[in-house]
Symmetry: C2
Subunit: 383 residues, 2 copies
């Protein structure tokens, strides 16, 4: 497969953008990425979005955004796989480049969630779960993750407070990220005293929704490459698992994350030990623990120990959520996968500011849709 | 680009499947296509769907369907571009095959529309248009097409009755298609006397919604090819246009259809004259006329003449809607593009029964999203 390079990144601050429509948010992020890439000729536009149809009464975002940003005539498509839609759009672009039909592509993740009634957002988030086997039984998306966390705590003996390190790290890192929704550090006391949402998931275990858009430009045309910052895509893999937790043989092991990360390591020719930064999908702290385990960074059942030991901090063994993660940067669901990749590029370029990791050769982003039912892993490398 | 072959097709009858969920419909079509292809090893699943999030309260169909049909662990993704979602899924599969990362893929189009309140379906169909510039002004999707048809009639002097031939041909052809929703022929009298929906679009100008699913298996692995029926994909191209009609320079010319068909002809090394069957996107009869013109089958403003002259019948110069088209087969929006491709394969294989065309070397399918804002054209060839 021909190598793809990331030559441009752009993102807008995650927040409550009541004055902006999805196309306007997407347009801003796209323009920033195109400008960063020095305005190459774009052949196709790949959009990651989950809920514009329900939250914004707007599908066909591909035509809408292509039109808005002035790409009339260009190919454009929307990829949806719940909260992993962003990485799905990136992967579709990577495959399109490799096909030889397309040379340079713009990837945009966009989601506008905060000016819909929160009940509607909760309902739409639950469409990522099995409508027949889970949602119709009255379980919400956070409740599914609470079931996972409870089971995990039971199996391995962890307590609520043991998960605090994930959120403390995320919030500490977000302080220096101007695009993050929450830029205030939190303490262990804040974590322990935070309100319970769905036992055992408290407010500080859960990521926040938000409005946001992020974008990347990828190419395999050598003439667009900036020699100082050659960031290539060396691994790309997607896997599924059962959508409902009840049909999963081992619910506290993310088989899809194991499969897609192993595949990505193999493509990149590395092991997990060589990954310098890991933007994981900490939608809930239980997902942070499970991702670290299934991706080979720590043995089974030991995820929280990495956080307790400080190994996930920017100077630790495996830095995660270096710009705040889903927890503190915010989780505009269909855009999140693109934010993760933008942040990995920032790290590999050495543009991550106070949370810069070192060395910064390999960066990995893992985007999860459903309760671990769709997992897409990418590995990027500074050449 | 490495050549892809279609080695399996499957479809279920379009109708009101109140006893089946989207996954069950998709599973049936998938099983038929897999069986037809003699059960090859599948690497990835590409799903075309528009409105499961709103109509069925179920997103993440990729995980759901992969799980349901027993592809646990396999890559799977949903493609959305309104009514062109089906062809978008096929094209994503074609590009993935060409990338070399995937060898054999299953493409499934699925849509379940009839057990939602019709107002909800009307609202969701309008999400294919521009929410800000069109829908918020009170215009529905059929109204946008009515504006196009009125303008077209004004410019070229056609009357309502002049469009009858499109619908008469579609219904006549559907009589012999066991998968079509409407299998009764209609007369010119039926057409003229049918009720007005949105002037000048009457009931017989408009396609019907429906529940349906169709599937295809594509591969570039020679070992899976049946020598008797080598159907290859020789052209694949997607284009966009402005999403809102008001910003389109020439609303009665489908620039996207012209661009994507020209591109597909070029890839296939043929002209429109060599196309033996054209499964077009006759969501409304005006779209039938505009597609024929923009794709080079007749000069501008003369679309209805082709129908009047009988040139669109199975034995005519350019047979269209040979299994009923969107008009009579039915238009389960996100699945339609896959039905079109399945029907082209039936024609190229010589399995089209009473509406078989001859010769049957090249077949073309064109799927349209929005009011011509996203157009995807494929050309298939019997080797």
């Amino acid at each position: 497969m021909q190598k793809a390079f990331v030559i441009g990144i752009g993102q807008i601050k995650i927040g409550e953008h009541w004055d902006k429509s999805p196309k306007e948010m997407a347009g801003e992020a796209a323009l920033l990425a195109l400008s960063d890439a020095n305005f190459p000729r774009i052949d196709a536009l790949f959009i990651g979005n989950m809920m514009a149809g329900t939250a914004n009464k707007q599908l066909n975002l591909n035509s809408l955004i292509a039109d808005w940003i002035g790409f009339r005539g260009n190919e454009s498509i929307v990829l949806e796989s719940a909260c992993s839609s962003g990485a799905a759009a990136f992967r579709a672009g990577i495959l399109a480049l490799a096909s030889g039909q397309i040379e340079t592509a713009l990837i945009v993740g966009v989601e506008k969630m905060t000016d819909s009634p929160s009940s509607e957002i909760t309902n739409t988030l639950s469409t990522a779960a099995d409508a027949d086997l889970e949602v119709d039984m009255g379980v919400s998306f956070v409740a599914l993750n609470a079931l996972l966390m409870r089971r995990y705590m039971h199996e391995y003996g962890w307590k609520n407070a043991d998960f605090a390190g994930f959120s403390i790290n995320a919030h500490a890192n977000a302080v220096n990220n101007p695009y993050a929704r929450f830029r205030k550090p939190i303490s262990e006391k804040n974590f322990i005293e935070s309100g319970m949402i769905c036992d055992p998931i408290n407010l500080m275990d859960a990521s926040s929704i938000g409005d946001g858009s992020a974008a990347l430009v990828i190419t395999n045309n050598q003439k667009y490459l900036n020699i100082k910052q050659k960031i290539s895509v060396v691994g790309s893999s997607a896997s599924t698992d059962t959508i409902s937790l009840q049909t999963r043989g081992d619910p506290i092991w993310l088989t899809g994350a194991e499969k897609s990360s192993k595949d990505a390591y193999k493509q990149a020719g590395i092991s997990s030990k060589e990954v310098n930064v890991f933007e994981y999908h900490d939608a809930f702290s239980i997902m942070a623990a499970l991702s670290l385990e299934a991706s080979g960074f720590v043995e089974r059942g030991k995820g929280p120990q990495l956080a307790i030991d400080g190994e996930i901090k920017p100077n630790g063994r495996i830095p995660v959520a270096t710009k705040g993660g889903l927890k503190a940067r915010g989780h505009p669901v269909g855009a999140t996968g693109v934010y993760q990749l933008v942040e990995v590029v920032q790290q590999l370029r050495g543009e991550a500011g106070d949370t810069q990791v070192s060395p910064n050769i390999y960066g990995m982003a893992q985007n999860i849709g459903g309760s671990g039912s769709n997992i897409i892993t990418h590995i990027l490398k500074r050449e």
